[in-house]
């Protein structure tokens, strides 16, 4: 059997499994309009997706994942609640490592349900664990919702919180912002001089370009407001680090987060959500005593996830990426839903990695 046939067969078995769980099978186009993906991921996606174009439709991308088209399809005419499954190739441009495939299969399962998010999280995770059980994989989990709730709960301005949330998936810039807001990093001299000037815009012209004088003035006002804002305390910034450094079994993490929430009540809702999820996982027969949790999991590789995140890894093959991964992406549905939104969670399996590990063909 050719590798392609093996992936198709393996994918078909997972598809059958998910269909058997009540999911509707869907398909999406391989060519996706580039604009939607660029708006969502920014310029970085150009380095990871194949871009092509024609004179009529403009720039198109070879589908780098299914999540975006499946969410769009659901937001346009999906009934609620909905469960979908799909299988097909995704395409990833490789610029650094020739050994990584530029084309591989994904089989996915996505749940759109506003009734009980904790139960939906548990459903997706438990099904993935069940169908992957013969491979003996290690499960990693995390929860972006807790970190985001902690940022929202900081005693500081909405502007600072928004800036931190915007960079939650870019750890380096997030850290730089936090260091500035705690006063750990001093503002550059040019900034100090700018804020001391009576009229910073006098004699600096000509004003060229589309960014207008009033936009520059508005940012100077924002910088003045920020300079007058008290620093975020070391104690509060320390809580963010405590959350990011969590790395234990889930039940212990939950205990620890309960302690943290005494100092930062804003995370109580997110911690309750995790609690409910662990209960739901337990009810589905997942061994939550053995379930690992990492506070920073999902921060660098799984952008757009804003709640529960998970991945399944072959411990004997550290060279392989996650065999399966997924998570909750509530905010993505509102970005793509043009005003409407629905809580959603899902994940994908990579069939090629499954049969490389000796699994279903």
């Amino acid at each position: 059997m050719t590798p392609k046939a093996k992936s198709r067969n393996t994918a078909a078995r997972f598809l059958d499994f998910f269909e058997g769980q009540g999911a509707r099978r869907v398909e999406t186009d391989i060519l996706q309009p580039a604009r939607v993906l660029l708006d969502l991921y920014g310029e970085d996606i150009r380095a990871r997706a194949y871009v092509t174009s024609d004179a009529l439709r403009g720039e198109q991308m070879l589908r780098p994942d299914f999540t975006v088209p499946v969410v769009q399809m659901h937001m346009e005419h999906g009934a609620e609640p909905a469960r979908y499954t799909y299988a097909g190739e995704v395409f990833r441009r490789q610029e650094e490592d020739i050994s990584r495939p530029s084309e591989f299969m994904q089989v996915g399962y996505e749940v759109f349900d506003r009734e009980n998010p904790a139960a939906a999280d548990a459903e997706v995770f438990a099904l993935f664990q069940q169908v992957l059980a013969p491979l003996g994989l290690r499960a990693a989990t995390g929860d972006m919702g807790i970190l985001m709730a902690a940022v929202r709960g900081l005693s500081t301005t909405d502007r600072r919180k928004a800036a931190l949330l915007r960079h939650i998936w870019r750890p380096k810039r997030f850290r730089a912002l936090l260091d500035r807001y705690t006063g750990k990093a001093k503002p550059p001299e040019t900034r100090v001089a700018l804020l001391q000037a009576a009229d910073a815009l006098e004699g600096v012209g000509p004003f060229i370009g589309l960014r207008s004088k009033s936009e520059i003035a508005a940012r100077i006002d924002a910088l003045r407001e920020d300079a007058a804002t008290p620093p975020i305390s070391e104690a509060e910034a320390g809580i963010l680090d405590d959350i990011l450094n969590l790395r234990e079994k889930s039940r212990n993490v939950l205990e620890r987060l309960r302690d943290i929430s005494v100092d930062l009540p804003a995370i109580v809702g997110a911690v309750d959500m995790m609690d409910a999820r662990l209960t739901a996982l337990d009810a589905r027969g997942v061994d939550v005593q053995a379930l690992d949790f990492e506070g920073s999991y999902g921060r660098t590789t799984l952008e757009y996830y804003d709640g529960f995140v998970f991945g399944f890894y072959a411990e004997t093959r550290p060279d392989l990426p996650a065999v399966a991964s997924g998570g909750r992406y509530d905010a993505l549905t509102s970005v793509l839903g043009q005003g409407r939104s629905i809580p959603a969670v899902g994940g994908v399996i990579r069939p090629e990695l499954v049969f490389e590990l000796g699994g279903a063909v």
Binding site: E43, R166, P171, K172, I208, G209, I216
Partner: protein, 229 residues
Amino acid sequence: MTVKLGVPSKGRLMEKTFDWFGKRGVGLRRTGSDREYAAAVDGVTGVELVLLSAGEIPRELAAGRIHFGVTGSDLVREKLAAWDTQVEEVQLMGFGHADLIIAVPKCWVDVDTLDDLDAAAAAFRATHGFRMRIATKYHRLVREFLRDQGVADYQLIDSQGATEGTVKNETAEAVADITSSGETLRANHLKILTDGLVHKSQATLFRSRKAALSDADRVALTELLGKLT
């Protein structure tokens, strides 16, 4: 077969390259008429000079069609993916210095750093409904730099020339371009971000990791390298 050395075919880069090799006992010269791209090598045997456009030298090295090539370190990094797996840096040559930098309008008194650029880009997108445009021809280098620095909400606009003029023409809000003295930037009312240095480029002698060698070539190559390094 011979060991092929690719050198820029025109201008000061060619002259300075000829001087650099000359000082090391390898005479490079053009032969025939002014317009004919023919050349000769003195002082070493088994080495052939190939005159090429500086922009094509990275590609020729990667394809293994030339063994050595002189070009800007910026061009190699821009044009070749995982460049150091395809070519080896033999010698920095000490001329052809140019910095790839990010510049914004001088009137942006609120923007001096990448941190400012990122914040201004977020506000710009909210106001104008599209991502802030940065004009450049160095897409790979600039994109990798901004990704590593965690800058978001920008887009790269292709500009193959007169890049500094794009801001005034309102086809871009900022530029990423090569500068040596900064004069063109100043004349176009632009300033460099304090931490906006993407790459410090200079003329560099590269060796292809792909080009095939016969036994005779290996002798010529060793002799050439002995004079140059």
